[in-house]
Symmetry: C2
Subunit: 222 residues, 2 copies
């Protein structure tokens, strides 16, 4: 449905803008009421159109949810490609990815929350597509972490598979606790997160397996 | 309803065991079907009793959810107290907490998932109680991280508030991707997570703010 750049007729442009409005209204309504409790009528009310005219843009409520996810995925893959093209050491690339991806979450709290809370409402091909996209994304993040190991920037003992889940989970948690208008800017928080993510892969040097150490310390204290 | 140790009559003991069965059946049913789609009848069916007899143990479906959370909270606070009593350097205490708390998540995937997916169904006093407990818990984890900074074990620039959210989010993500019977044991994964959590607080040394560096590298490449 997206018009090609350079050849956008006025009608196409308006249609696309209205489609964007529909998506944005759906993001807000699903976020406020939850996907299950939201009706197409609620979304139409928020856009300010009749319910019937929403069906020019979407097939169903599930279609609307899938469109939101596709848009989020497009943005996340665009960021990923931008990062992969950076000509910098792997750890700096990871840091920049971590910073910008955290920032995206903080600036798109509602979309990010939907992604993690409501994906289970997709079915069939739509669910398969979102799942595959998520796996591809995870694989590319893991490749970025592996590159840090390969060029000596990361802890040589790092398990890149679990590091990938660890880092993505930490970022996924942002919409849960972040509130707009808090004491720190989204930019500041994403810098702090980027530092912690780099720390995760560069490793703790000398703090591995302290369980034996702990027991010794206990024995000493006794 | 819990009987005091040493003074448990046979009737009390049976009652408690049945209450445990009810909670466990509720965990499984809520996890499989989702809280909203589950009826008290579904839970009764899983326990193998008549619906009416469930009301000896609980007041409502919401009460059942609250009981599950209370039990999870009791376990998490018990672990916290055990950790706070350890006579070891603060970073080793944090590591042991991170390891055992990750392990709890992996061994209680269903309860952990419920906690994060279904808490929003609590209302009134129950919601207030769970929210307060979570805040207390976060405050104690943050205190543990601050102790690492105070005794020189952590990155002196670490933001302990965000580090706390970061670490708890990383652990909260475990039930999302972990599947029982995967290639690595829960014990192994929790060791790996403990290492990464310690790395998060001990810091990345020399990898701070590489954005200026990136721009230089880009200029060089151009």
């Amino acid at each position: 449905m997206a018009s090609k750049a350079g050849g956008v007729s006025r009608e196409d442009g308006e249609r696309r803008n209205r489609a964007d409005d529909v998506i944005q209204a759906a993001v807000e309504t699903f976020h406020d009421k939850g996907y299950s409790a939201t009706s197409i009528q609620d979304v139409a009310d928020r856009v300010g159109v009749l319910k019937g005219s929403l069906y020019h843009y979407i097939d169903s409520k599930e279609d609307l949810l899938a469109r939101i996810f596709e848009e989020s995925d497009r943005q996340s893959f665009a960021l990923m490609e931008e990062m992969e093209a950076l000509d910098v050491p792997a750890v700096d690339r990871l840091r920049e990815f971590a910073r910008l991806w955290s920032l995206w979450y903080l600036e798109n709290v509602e979309r990010a929350s939907l992604y993690f809370n409501e994906w289970k409402h997709l079915t069939g091909e739509r669910l398969a597509a979102v799942t595959q996209t998520r796996h591809e994304y995870e694989a590319r993040v893991e490749r970025m972490i592996r590159a840090c190991k390969a060029d000596g920037g990361a802890d040589p003992d790092l398990d890149t598979h679990y590091a990938c889940f660890f880092i993505l989970s930490a970022i996924n948690g942002l919409p849960i606790w972040y509130r707009r208008g808090g004491p720190d800017s989204a930019e500041h928080i994403s810098e702090v997160y980027a530092d912690m993510i780099v720390a995760t892969v560069t490793g703790s040097k000398g703090h591995k397996r302290p369980r034996a150490k702990k027991r010794k310390a206990k024995a000493k204290a006794a």
